[in-house]
Structure formats: C-alpha cells, structure tokens
Symmetry: D2
Subunit: 343 residues, 4 copies
C-alpha cells in the first residue's frame, strides 16, 4: 500500500504517521518527492491500516499498481539520478560507459581508458571476474584485474564499473569499484542481490537474457528493499529464434521501464547484437529510444581480445561513434560532454 | 554465381556474355550499377560456366555470399530507391507513412489523411482487406475501402498503401493502390509472393512475426526473381516470451538488412509494441537506427477504432511525434519535409 | 452463444428453435451429440436471443468459454473421428502416416509405400507441391507427383496425404488426395483456409512454427465455419532459442488441444526435431502423450533425398520404430494393426 | 583431448601415462569403463602431448567432439547410475520423485510422504529454501523445513531432495538432504555450482528456463570438473511465446542429452506445464521419451498450497497417475516398483 501525504503536511504529522505504523508492526519506507512525500508499506498481508487515512496530513491510501513497489513510479514519481564521481546518471546528460570486455593487462586497460576519456566517455568498464559458460574458459584476472582498474581510474579520473559474480566477492569488489555490476546470468541470483542490496554503492543490474521486464524490476526490488537505492537497469538483449544477431536487443524495454519505474536505464548494444557491424547503429537508436546511457565494448586490438572480440569496437570506430552520437543526443536534449582536445 | 564485368567493359561485350549464357540455358539477370555491371545467375545446379571468366569484358566470377541473391549487396551494391508519386523511399528523406489500421468510413479516413498530410506524412496507410485470426472478427470494408482510399488520395495527393491478402485479389487491389503491402502472416505465402512479383508496382513486405531476417530476404527474393524490383522491407516486431509489449521490435534487423541488402527498410512500431505509450519512443529510435521510414497507426478516435485502437495515436499525439522526429532526422542527415502551414 | 437442448427435447422442438433463430437473422449450427443436441450461434454481436431460453425443449443458453467455437468441446463434447478409407483417425487406433518428404520418382515412392504398408502404417505421405523458403530450391514434381501418389495408393490400398500450397490448387489436389494437408507456413493463409473449408474432404492443419495453440484452433475454426468438419490438427514443433533440434516439439500441445477441442491430434516429430537420431524417441513420446497418431518421414535412401534427408528414417529404422510403438500403444489402449507377414 | 587406452593395456602402463602427463603440467582424469579406460585432458591450450600416442598401452588420442568433456559420452560411454539409498537412478528402473513444492508443515509433508511411498514413489521432494521472483513472497521454512524433511525420511525411509539456493547454504542443506537440487534460476550461478561440485553427494541440476541444452551440459561440467560425479540433469520446460502452458516442456531434450551424455535425465512436468490438467499426460510422455524418471508436485490440498497449487496433483490424482505409468514403463522395459499394499 502507498500512503500519500498532503502537500501541506507537516514534518510532525509525517513523523506521527510513521511512528504509528511502526507500532503496528510495519516497516514504513518514506520517499520524499519534490511535491510530496509517499510512505510505502511493502508487507503483503495482515495490514491493519484502519484509521490511518484519517490522520492529519494524510491525503489518501492506495494499493501499488504493480507487483514491484519501491522501483515503481507510484512510490517515487521523480526520476532517480545516480551520482558517480562528477557524473550524474539518469539526469540530463547522456552517459557513455566503455572499455574492454575483460581486463587483460595494464597496458590494454590504460590505453583504452585514455581513449574512452579522450572521446567523452564518462565511465570505464572492464571485467575482472568473468562468469563463463564453460569451466575451461578464461575466468578473468580476478583481484589483479581490480587493481589495474583502480590504476586506470587513478590516471584518468574515470569512475569504474565491474561485475560481481558471487556474494562472497561483494566486499572485495566493492572496495575497488565505483559501480557494482550484476550480470545477466545472475539477475535472479537472490543471494547476490541481497549481498549487493546491503552495500551503499551504485549498482547496474543487467536483464537476464530470457527474463521479462517485470522480473527485472522485481530483481531491482530485491536491491532496493535491501536498502540500496542507487540502482540502474540495463537492457542487453534477449534470447529469441533470430540467429543474425547474438541476442535480440529489446529497445522497447527502455520505453516500458521509463514509464513504470523511476530508475535510470542503460543499454548494452555490444552483448545484444554480438557483432561490431551493428553496434554503432544500436548505440544511436538507444539515444533516441530515451535511454540514459550506453555501455559498450572497446578494445585496442579486438582480433586479439581474450573474450568478445567480434563485438568490440576499435579505438577509431569508438571515436567515430561518439561523434555521431552528439547531434542525436543534442536533438534529444540530452547533452554529452565535448571530447578532450586532441593536441 | 555472380559475373562481375570490368568497369571498362563495352555494351557489346556485355551483350555477348548474356547471349552466350542464354544459349547455355541460363536466365542471366544483369544489374547496371554506377560503377559496373553485374550479371546474376540464380540456377543452383548444372551450371556450365566454363570459359565465361575469360571472355572479353569479364572481370571475375564469384559465388553469392548468401542464400539470397538479387536482394543482396553482392548483386547490387547501390541502395534501391523506390519512387512513389513525388516521394523517394530509400533515398535521403526519412519517410513517414501513417493512417488508421482499417478503413472504417469516408469521414474517418479523410480526416486522418488531412492530418497526416498537414504534419508532413508522405504516404497514407489503411486496410481494406483485414486478415483476422478469428473468422468471426471484422474483415474490412473490402472494395468499398479501396474506393475510400482512392478518394483520400484524390483530395490530399498522398499516395496510398494497403494490404493484399490473397493472390486472386492482386489485380483488384493493384488497380487502386500505390504500394501493395504483404502482411506478416503472408510473408511466406508463396502463391501471393508470386502474384505480387508479377506486378510492376512498389511492394512493402512485412516480416513474419516468426521469421528470421534471412527468411524475409528470401521472401523478397521471390518478389524480385518474379520481376518486381520495387521492393521495400518492413520490420514489425517478432514473437518472444516478453509480455509487456505485443511483440518485440527488432531494431537490429534494420542494421542487419542494410548491410546485407540494397532494399529500403521501413519500421512499423505500432504493431510491434502494441501500445500507444511506447510507439513514439520506437519511432524516434527507428530514425536513429538507420531506417528509411516508418509506418504508423493514427486514428481520429482510437477508443472507437474497430481494430488496434490501443496502439493508434491521436491526431495531437501524431503531430507531436512528427515534431520530435525532425531534429533527429536532421541529425541523421535524413531530412523530413516541413509540415504544411496550419492556417 | 450455445443453446443446449434438453435430453428429452423432441425433433419438433429442435426444429422450432432453429426456425425461430433463422427468422431472427442467425445462422444456427446444430451439433447432434450422443447425449444431447447443442445449437451454436457464432454471430458475435447484435444477437436478439430474448425468449429463446424459455422455449420448449431448451435447457440453457451459455456463452462459449473460448474464442474458438465450433472446434471447442463446448460445442461438441464427443471426439471427432475422421474416416479415411478403412482407417478411423481419432478413434481407438493409434494411426501412423509415413512416407518421403517429397515425391521424387515412382520407384522411390512405391518402394516406400510398400514398406509403410508392410510395417503397419495406415496412410502414405508425400509432397508433390513443396513450399520452399528459397525460390531457387526444388519445388516438387507438382501434378506428376500427384499421379505417382495415386499409383501408389492403387497398388497398396493406402490412402494418401499431400500438401496444398495455394487456393487455386485446391480443386486439382483434392481430386487426387485423400487428406489435404495445410502446411505450417500456411496456417494463417486465410484464402487457403477458406478454399479448403469449402471442400468436403479430410484436412490436416499443421501448427505454424510460431503460432499459439489458440491461433491454431482459430485457424481450424475457419475450416469448420466454412463447412468442412473433418479437421485434424498437427503439432510439428515451434521455434525457440534452442539449436540442438530444428524446432522444439511441444508435446504439451497435445494435452492442451485434447482438453479444449474435439478434433484429432497428430504429431509430426520429423519436422520438429529435424534429426533422425531423435525422431523415434519423440514418436514413442507422442503415443504416451495421448496423440491420435503420428506423421513421419521415411525414405529408401535418406542421404540422397532431395529434401529433409537428415530427418528421414531408413526402411530398417522405420520397421524397428513400428515394433517399439506397439507395446506402448497397447499400454495406452490405443491398438495398432499387426504388420503384414514378411514371407 | 581424450587419450584412449587399449583394452589390453596394463595398470602399470596406465599409471605411466598419467605420471608423464602430470609431469608435463596436466591434470589428467581417468575414466575406467567396462571395456577400456579413457584419460580426459581438459586444459584447452598449451598442451604438449607429443609422444604420448606412442606410449605402451595407448590406443589413440582424439579431441572431444563437443564443448563439454567429462559429461560427454566421449569420456564415459557407459550410463552413469546414481545410487540414492536403495534406489538406483539412471539404471533400469523408472524412478518417481514426488512431494509438495514447498514444505509448509509437518503434517502436510508427512501425509504426502506416506502417499508417495504407498503409491510406489522412490524419493520425496520438498522445498525448504524457496527462490522467489518477488522479495515479498513466501521464502520457505528454511532450516525448520529441512528438519521436517528429515523426519519424513525417518518415518517412510524415502530419501529426500531439496533445493540449495546459495553457496553458503551448501554445508547446512547437504547435512540434511540426500539429493541436492540446483534450481533453474541458478543453473549458471557458478559460485553455487563450484560449492556443490566440492560436495560428494548426488545433485540434480535443473535446466535454466532460458538455457540451451549445451549450456546445461556445460553447467554440469562445472560440477563434474569440481569432483562431484553423481550428477543428474532435469528438463523442466523452457520459455517460449506459447501462453497455454507456463513453459514449454522440451521432451526432445531427453533424447538429445541421452545421446550426448552419460548422465541420468529426470523430467519435471509440473513446472513445465504449470497446470494440473496437463501434468499426467506429460509424465506418461516422459516415460516413453526415454527419461530415467520424473519429479512432480503432490499436495494434500492443492487449493490451499502456499506455492504452485495450480500445478500440484491431489493424492488421488497421484495414485491414478502412478497406475497409468506402470504399463508404459513396462513397455519401455523400465520397471517400476509395485505399490505398497493398501491394507
């Protein structure tokens, strides 16, 4: 249930309502919007809300209109803006996160980070722990990879995003990274969602490759109900019968999520299409679809990449892409930072 | 096989090669490009091409790189531009086709046509024959609907597009329409493809909601091998497990097709997403994805529409959408015509 | 709406109800069951049924419980049995239809027909007109193929089933075949459904490879509302993300259809799995799932088949399969005929 | 790579080969078959196998024919039989596992266990830790549920199977259960696979509802390469566009897996079809498809179940199902134990 306070309600009245709810055994969660405050009651059953609607300052009580609650626009009509360093994600700027699929060496990552920075990218991506379908595939540089990421941040000032693949790694990875990424295969790994939900650090939750949008929003609800409100959602393609692309990028998910939820939406065209030929088109489409940003793979030498080389952009292709995004972002009134001088 | 002629080849040399191929039982199909001419040989087996590579004017012989041939970039590297009235589809302009799902009355269609025209739409859509999942649903006004479409063209000057649902209707519908539409359910209706392939009129082929991109290109090959070269392809969403939208719009198909084929690509976001809330976002994304145009549903009173009301834009929503497309089209260097003065 | 007559209703009372309905502009369709007669009213709107419930002999009036009507168990609780020669499909016997994908020659078909007959198969399959994804693939022997099928029937006594791929071929094919087959790509080819619906000959309707069960039942409704009541449904696999098999055989469709509809259900494991290794397992599973029969591909020399060789059984494999089906059919109380003596 | 030893090879020769491989840095894994021993080498790169083929006792060296290795028939041609109490799974008997979706109370579980036992079921299922899509749904009785399961085993003698939802729960759950279950959402939870792989207890790995068969086999490879060889695979339906059933049961997966792998295959029709009407048909089809067993949901009062009531069989329906399975299992030469006397 949602308890909507009047615009004219006082802080004392709000406090009184919350106290009474707690006395009745609820765990009330207030959200303070620009216009007014809403109190979310997540408990599904056994609610004694009698008399609450008549308390001073209370405007109305209504049920949630969907199965997800804290992630919904019902609970929080204003868009959530996640601040990472000096970059605001979900605000006006269209944000580009880029970097290699996996961290392979200091040189590989540093050179990529410099190019990302030079072209106007705002966040550096790179996998240190890689979830692999086969136990015999390259599993990442692990903590060594985290250190290389931190060094790249140190030099370029770019905040970093990297994936966490299991609950016990949360403390270690959270110590290094600016954004914790939950990968597609782990979208419904509830132990991991709970561990990440207990952190107070931005998190990017990727859509499972055969998960519905509603299931993604419920997975985000695990994070938010655990106390982590800095959640971003990522559309990265779903599994279909089509074989020309690795997965099918579901850009309408951006539109659906933006109406249902206040959380920022990032698109990952690299994993969706799986082939460099189609990545740039889908990056441009993401801007126009209303996404808050994209996360893409860039590699100094894609042919030699240890993973996902066929979907990674070269430095030149990345620079060209960034140039083509700017007028579109401007047309959408979502400005992008100018690239650094090349001289 | 493809026989590529030298840039310096003479018309006489070309004629000699074609004559020889015909004598050997082939049905050679030349394509005259800006740079050079290519002769397509579609017969799969029993080819005696010995000595052809050594004829004067012949540069090389190569196999097609894909299962589709005449629709491929191998056969025709330059993009196909389909001319409909004074509108060129597949050229520089981003083309908007709009109108109601089904023609319901003269008044309904005429008022819509005027709004489409006023806002800068270039083609009027409207179904006269409706393929319906249930035999008990409204099946369209049939020839009466075609007459109403023709009247709307008469008044507004907009060319019209309407669906043909069976081979024996081809002569009737072709007499009225400017663009023949083959619907998603009929994408692999080979009798219909053959009948439409014998016409010399532009055709829009919609992707089956269960069809791969390759199958769509092979269906277009039926049209082209039948002699109809004015073919446009339409992405209109595929069937997936996701339930938040009616189908999943596969915008990466635009990117895949544009690389594989020379044919124009139109996107139909209305049928893909199935809900008016998401249509405008996907129209904008279509521009940025590199589509040559869109086809969308507009209705004077969506709540009263006999079909697809929930995915039809109101006149105001359509006007607003068109305004939002212009800066994006400009950013993509795909200009749209200015709207007519409203006064 | 369904008008259910009392068990005790007289023929005169029934006639009176029907006459009254016709006077009011309905097209009433009675179904005479073992227990009682039901009158189906398919018109969706504008029904004036006032007073009908009170007529002598009328038990009750109720709406159809689903979007399909004549194919539903509401309309006809007893299973439909389709008689083809001396074989009853949908009755107690488990029926095996077998033969090559395409008719290639008299010898190929005759030798196969003899093997099918010898092993206890009851219907001979073989394609004369082949719907092919590419216009350059083998399209079948056409009328020549039909003649070969007829000759094989002449010799073996096996009734034949062959596909009709377009409306104008209906009279020709119906002249030769015992069962008209509508292929998966044509499940929603309404012009074809209407043409076949006007015939009075058994028809096997295959599920579109991305069609829902409800859509298949509605396609069958086109056939039945056209007047053809001898309809059989065929599950032949649907398109999914899985790549180990050509399609995914949806055996639960058998269970769903048998509860929703009175029509017989046949399973086509050959096209579903697409590889001979898995065909026999799925034939056996079809028996136990409650199907009324199977239709499978057998070829004297699969490696040389012009189409679908990789999914065709050899004569030996077919004989072995038939032996393995018998105890399962017996366990399901669906007997199969004993094979002819091999001496 | 696979090193195949000759049938006549001596133990000393085998030991010599293994020692040499270890000296070269490999981690050789011998599999001792009835006919001969195979040594698996999983390391993908940098293998120096020069000279190995010429050692005494070595027959040949060959690459694995697939991406999975220890789970493949290449590595182990004989079927794996998992022994649980006095029940052998993957042997001749067709094994039925049954019980409620979630453990709700001692009474609920005990009464169900008695019915499972009485009807010839061999393993008792019941969830103590429930992975739920929403954080606000019932999450299971947790350790209390494990204790109730253990009590039911104590009384009935039935071994138990229950799900483990996160790595840190492995020691706790393994202390109680006879078979550890990895649920569909966790099929690619690598941290969990690794933790369970370190145990020496039978494990049932469910197919992810978005996973290919190859991905399931690779997930099983994680378990086996971790040292746990008592692995069973479970087909439980995949996600498709069809809405008449909860998921689409892919019975052809049984056939595919049995050819590719030596591991036992269990089918879960309850979760696949999601509705009690279709469960029994799919149980019977599973027998005939060649599965080694089924796992199904039974509840004393499905209408009151806290989870999955609509897909749970009543006691009577379960008894009836078991009776119908027996003749089919006999026809497949997969006997089932006779039910206990009801007196």
């Amino acid at each position: 249930m949602i308890i909507v306070m009047k615009e004219s309600a006082t802080v004392a009245e709000l406090g009184h309502v919350i106290k009474l709810l707690e006395e009745r055994g609820f765990n009330p969660r207030p959200n303070h919007g620009a216009q007014r405050t809403v109190i979310g009651i997540m408990e599904a059953t056994g609610n004694d809300l009698s008399g609450i609607a008549d308390l001073p300052g209370v405007d109305q009580i209504a049920p949630f209109s969907s199965s997800f609650k804290m992630v919904s626009r019902d609970f929080k009509p204003e868009p959530t803006v996640v601040q990472v360093g000096d970059t605001a994600i979900g605000g006006q700027e269209f944000v580009v996160m880029a970097g290699p699929c996996g961290v392979e060496s200091t040189e590989q990552l540093l050179s990529t980070a410099r190019q990302v920075k030079a072209c106007g990218g705002r966040v550096l991506r790179g996998g240190a722990f890689k979830p692999r379908t086969s136990p015999y595939s390259f599993q990442g540089l692990r903590e060594e990879g985290l250190k290389i990421l931190a060094a790249a941040r140190q030099e370029t000032g770019l905040p970093i995003i990297t994936e966490i693949i299991s609950p016990e790694l949360v403390p270690l990875v959270a110590r290094y990274t600016d954004i914790m990424q939950i990968g597609a295969r782990n979208m419904q790994n509830y132990a991991l969602l709970e561990a990440v939900g207990r952190e107070r650090k931005p998190v990017l939750l990727k859509r499972g490759l055969m998960s519905t949008i509603e299931e993604m929003l419920l997975a985000a609800e695990y994070l938010m109900s655990g106390g982590n409100t800095q959640v971003m959602l990522c559309e990265r393609g779903i599994r279909t019968f089509e074989r020309a692309t690795r997965n099918t990028l579901d850009l309408s998910a951006v539109s659906v999520i933006k109406r249902a939820s206040h959380l920022p939406v990032i698109v990952d065209p690299s994993h969706a299409v799986g082939h460099v030929d189609y990545v740039a088109d889908m990056c441009r489409a993401s801007v126009a679809a209303g996404a808050d940003g994209i996360i893409i793979e860039v590699h100094p030498d894609p042919a030699q990449a240890l993973s996902d080389g066929q979907q990674s952009l070269t430095f030149d292709a990345f620079a060209e892409l960034m140039e083509s995004l700017r007028p579109l972002a401007a047309a959408m009134k979502r400005p992008m930072p100018e690239p650094a001088r090349k001289g």
